[in-house]
């Protein structure tokens, strides 16, 4: 499969963002991963959506990668998925919100906040979305420290 269009888009992104990009990878047809620093996260995304006229954010994935949590918004540009990746330290998990530039991110940021404890600075309402309101605020179920307790088989007496 030829990936010419993707390579071209990737070099366009690289040119636009300059040294803000630490890594750019064409994963497969119509899928690109762009790694940026947490402090450049919002500015890079703002530049990209303005240049390419992107309006659609598919979702935001949060993933535990050891000492950091990766925040990955997946944008969609003419069928191509552009994923940004920014790592925030677990001890100070904070990153800028995207809600003012991409209003569709509201629910997704709440979900990442709920399950991985990443705070989005400037989000209008970071209330609980999927887990219960009285869930302890320092327990983040999708971080690796949180272990799932396996049910024991029921003993017949």
């Amino acid at each position: 499969m030829s990936l010419e269009a993707e390579q071209k888009l990737a070099s366009g992104l690289k040119e636009l963002l300059g040294d803000r990009v630490s890594d750019i990878k064409v994963q497969r047809a119509r899928s690109i991963f762009v790694t940026v620093k947490a402090e450049d996260y919002k500015e890079s995304i703002r530049r990209v959506i303005e240049k390419y006229g992107i309006t659609h954010i598919s979702t935001i994935t949060g993933a535990d990668s050891g000492p950091t949590v990766d925040v990955m918004p997946h944008l969609s540009h003419a069928g191509t998925k552009i994923t940004f990746k920014a790592a925030v330290p677990k001890t100070a998990a904070e990153i800028d919100t995207l809600t003012d530039i991409l209003p569709g991110a509201v629910m997704y940021e709440r979900e990442v906040h709920d399950l991985l404890g990443v705070k989005f600075k400037g989000h209008p309402n970071l209330a609980r979305l999927v887990i219960s309101d009285d869930w302890p605020s320092d327990v983040h179920p999708l971080r690796k420290e949180y272990k799932v307790i396996r049910p024991e088989p029921i003993r017949k007496t």
Partner: protein
């Protein structure tokens, strides 16, 4: 006369409109809904966490249970995502079979929705008729996979069952009946006065709002945006199977009915095309148990819209992270917008159920813990499994 103060009405979590849990708070001014707030999570089952402790093969039945109605969309999205990790292409015949079952699943989901919509607007005759005809497609799915709902057809590397020429003949016969009946519903949807009166100008989501709130699927297409993952980011056999992306510019519930009915007809055509052009060859390839290190993203057009999955592999036999975003979550922000009165557009309390049903919500997809409520103490909490076991031992149950 002093104006009436704002009043909040809580709807749910017990089955608002559809038989699924979700809680809404509506601020009403007389009969008009001023604004709405939504609280989800009542069906959060921790599937993403559970996926991390199962192998790639064990995850298939788990992912299939994210949703009953659109199980095929989720399993296709999962299996192709894992195949992307391996960087392997699957046999073309398997991709065609995936497309066939996916479109059959879409037909059943859309017909189910048309029936529900009929029920919500008080037109139960339509519900009875549509659901009777939906049995045809349920039977076809059963003949093809052995199950009516959860199909269990997907596996990493292909599909588990083949289509025999006899089965293809029976599928074609069933499709003829479905096509005839769907064309009849097309006529009803466009001209029946009950449907027109209860859907035109209701649940408006303008083109700009739909784009701004990142709506997906038939909700987005009914606001006049030509967007379909099958066309924009083709997967399985969709790069070869021709179809039209159906849109409507009425931006209201009527548009959503029309889009779904026409899409059903397109799906019937697609299944027929796949049966006519089914390539020969194997239906699956064997892949090693552990995919290489890496990450991947895959999208599928589920009956309700864009379904997106993310997987990260650390080189072991279990995913390091699995993320699912089902289409309903994408449509929630748009739904809140539809339920807000602005200017001349008034949302009436009586229209709430049909507007809710209009996005074809699937809460189980969206939520993916156990939650305990003790009304006497007016308290709600979540227990861990350990606490639950301790409670069981203590109480001797």
């Amino acid at each position: 006369m002093t104006p009436m103060p704002e009043f909040s009405v809580i709807v749910g979590p017990q089955h608002p409109a559809l038989k699924e849990p979700e809680s809404f708070t509506f601020w009403v001014d007389g009969e008009d809904v001023v604004r709405a707030e939504v609280r989800i999570g009542y069906a959060h089952r921790g599937i993403e966490k559970a996926a991390e402790s199962r192998t790639y093969i064990q995850n298939i039945p788990l992912i299939e249970r994210i949703c009953g109605i659109c199980n095929v969309a989720h399993t296709i999205c999962y299996t192709q995502n894992v195949e992307y990790l391996y960087g392997r292409e699957i046999p073309r015949r398997a991709e065609y079979i995936r497309t066939i079952i996916e479109e059959l699943n879409r037909i059943h989901s859309h017909l189910l929705w048309v029936g529900i919509a009929g029920h919500e607007i008080g037109f139960d005759t339509l519900l009875m008729y549509v659901w009777r005809d939906r049995e045809v497609v349920m039977d076809l799915i059963e003949e093809m996979t052995g199950n009516r709902v959860s199909t269990a057809l997907m596996t990493v590397g292909g599909v588990t069952r083949d289509i025999t020429p006899e089965l293809a003949t029976r599928l074609r016969k069933g499709l003829d009946i479905l096509e005839e009946r769907t064309k009849y519903y097309e006529k009803i949807a466009a001209g029946e006065s009950t449907i027109l009166a209860r859907t035109k100008g209701i649940g408006i989501l303008t083109r700009d709002e739909a784009v701004r709130h990142c709506a997906v699927g038939p909700t987005l297409r009914a606001s006049g945006i030509k967007s379909d993952i099958r066309a924009d980011d083709p997967y399985a056999a969709h790069d070869e199977v021709p179809f039209d992306v159906i849109t409507s510019d009425t931006c209201d519930l009527f548009g959503r009915v029309v889009v779904r009915v026409y899409e059903t007809i397109e799906s019937i055509k697609q299944v027929r095309y796949c049966l006519d052009h089914l390539p020969n060859g194997p239906i699956r390839i064997r892949l090693p148990n552990t995919p290489p290190r890496g990450e991947s993203l895959s999208r599928v057009e589920a009956p309700r819209g864009e379904d997106i999955h993310y997987v990260r592999s650390d080189g072991s036999d279990r995913p390091a992270r699995y993320k699912v975003r089902a289409p309903t979550l994408g449509n929630l922000a748009g739904l809140v917008e539809m339920l807000t009165s602005k200017g001349n557009y008034k949302v009436h309390v009586a229209d709430i159920p049909i507007i809710l049903a209009g996005i074809d919500p699937c809460m189980c997809c969206m939520d993916r813990t156990a939650r305990f409520i003790e009304p006497s103490r007016n308290k709600e909490w979540v227990w861990t499994w350990d606490q639950l076991k301790r409670y069981k031992r203590r109480s001797g149950r």
